[in-house]
């Protein structure tokens, strides 16, 4: 079970306190009516599915109930950094070979 440091509570807690909320930094387009079907489809469905450092969101449902961002290595599953919504991702490197 992963442990995640909630950047809002500043508490490190086990995965069971959180819910995964998908890829991060996907902004809802401000003008959907102007988008083509392809571009709207991209917003709805196309995801990076990164093998490596993945920026994603989690929500501390059994805690502060806030959403926040996480950088996680999807090959080892380990969390590399957490940061608040609206903030830029910090620089991280993978610890592994």
């Amino acid at each position: 079970m992963l442990t995640i440091l909630c950047p809002v509570c500043n508490i490190s807690a086990p995965e069971l306190e959180f819910v995964y909320a998908g890829q991060a930094h996907i902004s809802r387009p401000g003008n959907p009516e102007e988008l083509s079907d392809e571009d709207w489809r991209d917003y709805l469905f196309i995801r990076a599915n990164t093998r490596g450092i993945h920026a994603e969101r989690w929500r501390h449902t059994h805690g502060c109930a806030r959403f926040f961002n996480v950088l996680r290595d999807t090959c080892s599953d380990l969390v590399l950094a957490t940061y608040q919504i609206g903030h830029e991702p910090p620089l991280v490197t993978l610890g592994r070979d």
């Binding site: 079970m1 992963l2 995965e15 069971l16 819910v19 995964y20 079907d37 392809e38 489809r41 991209d42 709805l44 469905f45 196309i46 995801r47 599915n49 990164t50 093998r51 993945h54 994603e56 996680r72 999807t74 090959c75 080892s76 599953d77």
Partner: protein, 416 residues
């Protein structure tokens, strides 16, 4: 060499041992008519059908690891076609037709066992959903029968049908011709049959990128062993498809999740059929080796680690013990995980792509094994004819743009 009891007898004679490689180890050629990326059941099967039905033998299946080592070798081996939408039934029932007789066709016993798949209803909502499946299947002439709790227990004696259970069984939908097969044997059977027809199967040859010419047409693949040219490339590499298709400029609506499964220690026959429950989430069958084979849902985050969290196993076994309290004293022998690619509507993508000469077979999520011969067959058609078979036409990548989703999961939606 033809497999048969006679062949066993011949090789049993002392000193006789004349077994030959089931698929030869070959070096990749410089060029193929078709390259299939991924030697899972779907990819190997497609190669087989390309050779057998379309006479295309200048075909290579490239595999980064050992053939059948992806999800084909990790699933819980359930075979059924009792899906809701006509399009889905078309696809999975086509597979059922091919499963029947597959061992004979491949001359390889894949141990396809039609012992029945029973889906349980635990609430009024479940009953509505499953009955809708039963009626929809019935309309198409696909076997699916509604059973009362007593009938379900009769069919599967270990079931707990107590009305005081937390989620009592209110009935079930039984597809009698559904069942299980030996997953490894499916990969090996197709591999042997395909290579017997001239297909090259190349293991330890991971594909790193698709190469295209200036017109955008596929010209071949970059691999760990160098560039191999091809006129057509079909990608069927669950857990790796996103990365490979990215290299061709195609971004897919896929996300890859860990899917765990487990086996118990082997016991004498106790579980006559496959049982699946959506509400008390788990599914279970007993293999021909005697192990109970058990699975449930994916872990919640995307991952390529082929490793999941223990609490998922806890929830799965809690569900199993609820439905089968007599199994509580059996023991877990091994847990493992694979990486499944999930689409937004939980239905696969099988067909052409915007890149000429590039075909994709992906997004099978947690349900790819049951479709193996069917998916392989229609993928072969799509590649050979450069056009989808009517059966896989609805599963086109474009449906995510138009909104024509085939959303099996939504239809079994959360209770209101």
């Amino acid at each position: 060499m033809q497999f048969s009891f006679l062949s066993l007898l011949k090789n049993a004679q002392a000193g006789a041992n004349r077994w030959t490689p089931q698929w030869p180890t070959v070096e990749p050629k410089a060029h193929y008519d078709v390259i299939i990326v991924g030697a899972g059941g779907h990819g190997l099967g497609a190669a087989y059908y390309l050779a057998k039905e379309y006479g295309l033998r200048n075909v290579a299946v490239l595999e980064k690891g050992w053939l059948g080592g992806g999800n084909t070798g990790r699933n819980t081996t359930i075979i059924r076609s009792n899906y809701l939408y006509d399009e889905s039934v078309g696809l999975y029932d086509h597979a059922m037709d091919l499963w029947d007789g597959l061992s004979q066709e491949l001359n390889y016993n894949v141990m396809y066992s039609k012992r029945g798949v029973l889906m349980l209803a635990h609430s009024v909502h479940d009953v509505q959903v499953l009955k809708r499946h039963v009626y929809a299947n019935d309309r198409l002439g696909v076997d699916n029968t509604w059973l009362t709790p007593a009938e379900a227990k009769d069919y599967c004696p270990p079931l707990n049908i107590s009305p005081t259970a937390r989620y009592p069984i209110l009935g079930g939908a039984l597809q009698r011709k559904g069942g299980v097969a030996r997953h490894d044997a499916v990969a090996w059977g197709f591999a042997r049959a395909a290579s017997a027809r001239g297909v090259d199967i190349i293991q330890n040859c991971g594909v790193t990128a698709i190469r295209r010419n200036q017109q955008g047409h596929v010209t071949g693949v970059e691999t760990e062993r160098g560039f191999i040219a091809a006129c057509k490339v079909a990608v069927s590499a669950a857990g790796n498809t996103s990365m490979i298709m990215d290299s061709a400029g195609i971004r897919l609506p896929l996300e890859s999740f860990p899917l765990q499964a487990l086996v118990s220690e082997p016991v004498k026959p106790v579980m006559p059929c496959v049982v699946m429950s959506n509400s008390v989430h788990a599914y279970i069958s007993q293999s021909d080796k005697g192990e109970l084979v058990i699975g449930a849902g994916t872990d919640q985050y995307i991952s390529y680690s082929q490793r999941g969290a223990f609490h998922v196993i806890e929830k799965t076994l809690a569900s199993i013990c609820e439905i089968f309290p007599i199994f509580s004293r059996l023991r877990v022998l091994r847990t493992w995980a694979g990486t499944v690619d999930v689409t937004p509507d939980r239905s696969p993508i099988v067909g052409k792509t915007p890149v000429p000469g590039l075909y994709v077979n992906c997004g099978w999520g947690t349900g790819g094994f049951k479709a193996t011969p069917g998916a392989a067959h229609v993928l072969a058609h799509t590649v050979a004819c450069d056009a989808p078979h009517p059966i896989n036409a609805p599963f086109h990548l474009d449906r995510f743009r138009t909104g024509r989703l085939i959303d099996e999961a939504a239809a079994a939606a959360v209770a209101h």
